[in-house]
């Protein structure tokens, strides 16, 4: 149960692979794969920084409750 991690293969230029190998020497990264995974996850997460809109009705209802609780004047 839950023992195996699932992986697949992505191709990158050999020259880039070698460059990364050099870069990760002496860092906490144990392989080029772990470095590339880290960087890709970081980039994908950047897309999340957008505000989620609420409907006007939702906002008004919530603001009323927040006023009743003393959070808003």
């Amino acid at each position: 149960m839950g023992e195996e991690k699932k992986y697949t293969t992505v191709s990158i230029p050999t020259t880039l692979f070698k460059k990364i190998e050099e870069r990760i020497k002496g860092t906490g990264f144990t392989s080029v794969s772990s470095y590339v995974t880290y960087v890709l996850r970081e980039i994908i997460a950047e897309d999340e920084n957008e505000e989620e809109p609420f409907t006007k009705e939702d906002e008004e209802r919530v603001k009323q409750r927040l006023r009743a609780l003393g959070y808003l004047d």
């Binding site: 839950g2 991690k5 989620e52 603001k63």
Partner: protein, 378 residues
């Protein structure tokens, strides 16, 4: 403001009488108060993107990788255990009703039932199988099967603190109304001493707002009682916190004491509340000596895609030579000059009915705590 974890704030709520009546006709499974609170957390998006109890694939991915099956960071299983006898009854139903006492809390839309290995669960989440660990002891008492599927929340869980009960939609609108573009969340299960206050205020110096978010729910013996934590923070806010840049709201879920993994879980929940930053101190969510003092900070380096910025703090202490509250990064003096804010020492003093020094705890806070016959969980 940051988007919720997974991109969308989950809302799975139907408070109609019709739905509640339907639930009364379904197979009933009873839940504990902690499970009822977590149903509220699922329904109102505190656990976004989870829409219910984990299916096997997510559960196994969380154990193995600390991620959901879609690669999104998630470190603590959110599951419902059932016995073999219950499974046989559930097999005949697509939907079951989850009741807390006589109240239908939620409908569970059953998708999957599966066995699991408790020792592996404990080892992966808590990094130990010792039943001395309260989280492990809790797992070992659970039934042998898990049932997964989305839920529909029918009633909000009961709370002792309605004045401070906020859901993520409410905190997000609150932060917006306050004009806070950046908000730091602070998790706590303690009454505040001076060290906590300095950590919070140091973080607040760099962001627009501070959200103190005490965790209310099952805790271990010796922890502060929930009502003590709330009273202590009310007092601290009244005397020492600026109203336009700090606020207090509770989070009702049990402490798992899973150390590093729970630190990530705590950060995810605060992201859903709308926080952009999260304070991680020494031995966050730890218990005994099960985790290293800064393991809960180190684990954040495995999650560059968490989507909330952790702020790491070492312990603060009072330095007689500096004449103020400092930490080891900024104080050059030896330990002979330091007064540490030892939680254990402060607890012992309070238990004896003694007021800790003003250098350790605000006198107004100490006085409030000492008004309780026993401020600690028995």
């Amino acid at each position: 403001m940051l988007r919720p974890h997974g991109g969308k704030l989950v809302e799975r709520v139907d408070f109609s009488d019709r739905k509640r009546d339907e639930a009364r006709e379904m197979l009933k499974i009873h839940v504990s108060i902690d499970e009822a609170r977590d149903l509220g957390n699922i329904g109102h998006g505190v656990f976004s993107p989870l829409e219910g109890y984990m299916l096997r694939e997510d559960f196994e991915n969380v154990l193995a990788d600390g991620r959901l099956s879609n690669d999104l960071p998630w470190t603590i299983p959110i599951v419902k255990d059932v016995s073999r006898e219950e499974i046989e009854k559930i097999l005949e139903s697509e939907e079951i009703a989850l009741f807390y006492k006589d109240t239908p809390m939620a409908i569970l839309h059953v998708e999957e039932m599966y066995p699991y290995n408790k020792k592996e669960y404990a080892e992966k989440v808590f990094r130990t199988t010792s039943i001395e660990h309260p989280g492990v002891a809790n797992i070992m008492k659970k039934e042998d099967y898990l049932v997964g599927g989305k839920i529909t929340l029918l009633n909000d869980p009961p709370t002792k603190f309605p004045r401070y009960k906020l859901w993520p939609k409410e905190t997000r609108i609150l932060f917006k109304e306050m004009g806070w573009r950046s908000v730091v969340g602070f998790q706590t299960r303690n009454a505040p001493h001076i060290g906590h206050e300095y950590v919070q205020k140091t973080a607040l110096t760099f962001v627009d707002g501070l959200f103190i978010n005490p965790l209310i729910g099952k805790k271990k013996k010796g922890d502060f009682k929930d009502e003590v934590i709330i009273k202590a923070y009310e007092t601290l806010f009244e005397h020492y916190y600026p109203k336009n840049s700090a606020t207090l709201g509770i989070l009702e879920t049990e402490m798992r004491y899973a150390g590093p993994r729970e630190a990530i879980f705590h950060a995810i929940m605060r992201k859903n509340f709308g926080c952009t930053h999260f304070i991680v101190g020494r031995d966050h969510a730890g218990v005994g000596n099960f985790y290293g003092p800064y393991e809960a900070q180190e684990i954040f380096y495995d999650y560059p895609d968490l989507g909330i910025t952790p702020l790491f703090f070492r312990s603060f202490f009072y330095c007689k030579k500096c004449g103020g509250v400092v930490n080891e990064k900024i104080c050059p003096h030896g330990p002979e000059h330091h007064i540490t804010f030892s939680g254990t020492r402060i607890r012992e003093m309070l238990l004896r009915g003694e007021k800790p020094s003003e250098l350790m705890m605000r006198p107004e806070v100490a006085e409030i705590i000492l008004q309780f016959d026993n401020p600690f969980v028995e």
